[in-house]
């Protein structure tokens, strides 16, 4: 504790911190360039893996707004993913919109839903909010499953293939990639502005924030709507990419858990945390499933790794990357003692 206190306060440490941030930014930049040219070398399998990873990262970036910065444990963000998927698919099938327009319709529907339910639900706090969001996601999934006339019901919706088919791998890879970059940019942009500071104020002490004249309701609803925007766009891309929408697939709770896991692994309330977390999580899973001879134990091993990471770095790996803490044994033990998220 003493050590990290020193690090943060002295001017020497401050300049170190800036230098470190530059290194980090450089690394991420180099990595982004690498990802941009990767399709020239990668196989279809890796393109698919990374496309799914990007969609997960985009959802995690969205979750970070409400869960990371504003401090509201939203457990129902898959609802926005599903609404985005259905909105996009229905616009393409029923209204014959081109994909990009349909994608915007899907995302707008997700945002509208977030605003409408956010106004009442965001009055809840803590566990109550978490439970309400879980219930919402389940409820929306059920509606999609049973409203046969509108959503196609349990039989689902079938979308046409992307044409020309030879380019479809590239198309979805790059569009998902652009979505991730958009999320990074959006996060950075907001966190430099009053809106971003109001989120942090709400997370630290909502009553105090209100006293200071912050319109907390508005701030929270915007955070919720922006997380819906990211998940809705990801859902729309997913729908067209997989060429079908099934309620049981696009409303499954695993997606919510994955976006939370990615954010928390990387570092909630940081710009790069969700992106890095999604990468670590998904590459780890892929390596475990495909490249290590662990048989059917992969889920167990993954669970073990996640528990270890959570125990030792409850603030995510960004804790060490950003220089807030040094990666030493004492810092890890300190994390266990003060265990807070």
């Amino acid at each position: 504790m003493k050590k990290s206190g020193e690090l943060q306060n002295s001017p020497q440490a401050a300049s170190k911190k800036v230098a470190r941030q530059k290194v980090l930014l450089g690394l991420v930049g180099a990595f982004v360039v690498l990802l941009a040219v990767l399709p020239l070398f990668a196989s279809g399998f890796w393109m698919r893996t990374l496309t799914l990873l990007f969609l997960l990262a985009a959802m995690a970036e969205g979750w970070n707004f409400i869960g990371g910065y504003t401090g509201y444990a939203a457990f129902g963000n898959v609802a926005f993913f599903g609404i985005g998927a259905y909105g996009t698919a229905l616009s393409m099938l029923r209204l014959h919109f081109p994909f990009f327009l349909a994608l915007l319709v899907g995302a707008a529907a997700a945002m509208l839903f977030a605003v409408l339910v956010g106004l009442p639900v965001l009055r809840l706090k803590g566990h109550y909010f978490a439970i309400a969001t879980v219930a919402l996601a389940t409820g929306v999934g059920e509606v999609a499953d049973f409203w046969t006339d509108f959503t196609g019901g349990a039989a689902g919706l079938t979308l046409p293939f992307f044409h020309p088919i030879q380019l479809s791998n590239y198309f979805f890879y790059y569009i998902a990639f652009v979505l991730v970059l958009f999320g990074l940019g959006l996060t950075y942009f907001i966190m430099k502005r009053k809106l971003g500071y109001s989120w942090l104020a709400i997370r630290e002490d909502e009553d105090a924030a209100k006293m200071m004249g912050i319109n907390t309701t508005w701030s929270k609803v915007v955070a919720f709507a922006l997380s819906a925007l990211m998940a809705g766009l990801a859902g729309g891309i997913y729908a067209y990419w997989n060429t079908f929408v099934l309620a049981e697939e696009v409303f499954k709770i695993e997606y919510t858990l994955q976006m939370i896991l990615a954010t928390v692994l990387g570092g909630p309330g940081t710009v790069f945390g969700p992106f890095i977390g999604a990468f670590i999580y998904y590459i780890l899973i892929t390596l475990l499933v495909f490249f290590l001879p662990v048989g059917q134990l992969h889920a167990t091993i993954l669970g073990l790794i996640i528990i270890l990471v959570m125990v030792f770095t409850p603030q995510g790996v960004m804790d060490f990357l950003s220089g807030r803490k040094r990666l030493t044994l004492s810092a890890l033990l300190e994390n266990i003692r003060t265990h807070k998220v």
Binding site: R20, V23, L24, L27, F31, L34, L35, L38, F41, A42, S43, G44, F45, W46, R48, T49, L50, L52, E142, D145, F146, G153, A154, A155, G156, T158, F161, I165, S168, N242, T243, F244, L246, E248, E249, I276, F279, I280, I283, L287, V289, F290, F291, Q296, A299, V317, F320, L321, G323, R326, L327, T328
Partner: protein
């Protein structure tokens, strides 16, 4: 210290990317080395993503067993004849964790990295729906054996084929059999699980019953994984149907039987699409399983003579029991049949060219131990009838329909609950 962590992370990320790039070049080498022209020895590799963990783990195991049993038998004979040489058969199977995303990812890997020549299907309509789209994208044939929903085949795909009878045909056998036993039957009630496969089964049964002049007095669906269907059963009781049909899966089938007993609902024919033929059905219900009938894609008692590697359903059952220690479920038989369809198509094409084999599959018409293998222009096998099995009071399952294959007569009517 702190820098070392940064470097570590960067290395991890870069390693992943390099791995991705290597995957491709490595795979290409494999493709050049393997393949059909590799000297005297040639190998045909089939790939599949099958659920070995997750909610379909049990069914997935049957599928895998079926594939493996065929491969073992054909390799005993030296392999599949391609033109004037004989190629050994190899199998590459991954676990898709009963997850459609993973299933699609794996099939993409089988095609672009492992370079398998032909694809086999996963278990279940959902995963089949996802993976047939990948096969179509790369124009690699996929003969699947465990996705019965017709919507899989209504997308105009050219490279997907299914050896099993499609969902709408599942309950037809029971309706035919009931009418054969008692031409005075008038009314049918149908309940279905709210899922793609079950809804198609129910709709198919409804259409067929109406075509046969029966009156469908009740038709409704219930939520997946439901714990209570008593409101549906109560409504059905008031209608007093002659036939009660359920379209769903094992767990909800058990629930319907239990609650029908509680509410004393006794139709003359009590049947389901899936469930009564599984050993778990008898285990869970005991004596209450008596007289209940179920549709079956295939049974070991069918009387078929074929010139494939198995010859007869009985021979298949014998080999399966010797290897896996249990009576073969139909999932294993249809999975083996998918490989037989490939074998016959490859022999007819005399080549391993994907498009030639695809064309040969499209014009295939072959009687296998599993039944007739022939595909309509959408790729579905609508030419093989469904069998019906009944839980006999002696605690065993017997094939009771079609009549020519029946080992025991169909016991009609269902013995009412209050007379037991």
């Amino acid at each position: 210290m702190k820098r070392s962590f940064q470097i570590l992370l960067a290395m991890l990320m870069i390693a992943a990317v390099v791995l991705a790039a290597c995957g491709k070049s490595g795979g290409e080498k494999q493709a050049a080395g393997g393949g059909q022209q590799g000297g005297e020895k040639c190998v045909i590799t089939f790939g599949a993503a099958v659920s070995l963990t997750g909610k379909y783990a049990k069914e997935g195991e049957y599928v895998k067993n079926g594939y493996n049993l065929y491969v073992e038998q054909i390799n005993k004979q030296g392999g599949i004849k391609v033109g004037n040489k004989t190629c050994e058969v190899a199998l590459k199977i991954y676990d898709d964790e009963s997850n459609a995303d993973r299933s699609a990812q794996l099939v993409e890997k089988l095609i672009t990295e492992d370079h398998v020549q032909f694809l086999l299907g996963p278990y279940g309509s959902g995963n089949t729906y996802a993976t047939t789209a990948i096969a179509e994208k790369y124009q690699v044939p996929m003969v699947e054996a465990n996705g019965a929903a017709t919507k899989i085949f209504k997308r105009g795909f050219k490279y997907s084929f299914a050896v099993l009878t499609p969902a709408p045909y599942y309950l037809r056998g029971i309706i035919d059999m009931a009418l054969d036993a008692d031409p005075n039957i008038k009314t049918v009630a149908i309940v279905a699980e709210n899922g793609a496969f079950a809804l198609e089964v129910a709709q198919g049964a409804k259409d067929y019953a109406e075509e046969k002049g029966l009156q469908v007095v009740y038709f409704d669906k219930y939520t997946k994984n439901t714990k209570d269907v008593s409101s549906l059963i109560t409504a059905i009781k008031a209608k007093k149907p002659d036939i009660l049909l359920g379209a769903g899966h094992l767990q909800d089938t058990l629930l319907i039987v239990k609650q029908a007993k509680d509410l004393n609902v006794s139709p003359k024919v009590f049947g389901f699409s899936v469930g009564p033929t599984a050993p778990e059905f008898r285990k869970a219900l005991g004596k209450d399983a008596d007289y209940i009938v179920g549709g079956a894609q295939w049974t070991p008692e069918l009387k078929i003579q074929s010139d494939d590697v198995f010859g007869t359903p009985q021979k298949f059952a014998e080999l399966y029991e010797a290897k896996y220690g249990e009576v073969p479920p139909y999932q294993a038989a249809e999975s083996a049949a998918a490989l037989i369809a490939y074998q016959k198509a490859i022999e007819a094409a005399g080549s391993l060219d994907k498009d030639k084999v695809r064309d040969a599959l499209a014009s295939l018409d072959y009687m296998s131990f599993y039944g007739r293998l022939k595909f309509n222009e959408q790729g579905m096998n609508v030419y093989k009838p469904m069998a019906v099995m009944q839980n006999y009071p002696d605690g065993k399952l017997y094939t009771v329909w079609p009549k020519e294959a029946a080992t025991k007569p169909f016991i009609y009517p269902f013995k009412p609950w209050d007379q037991r």
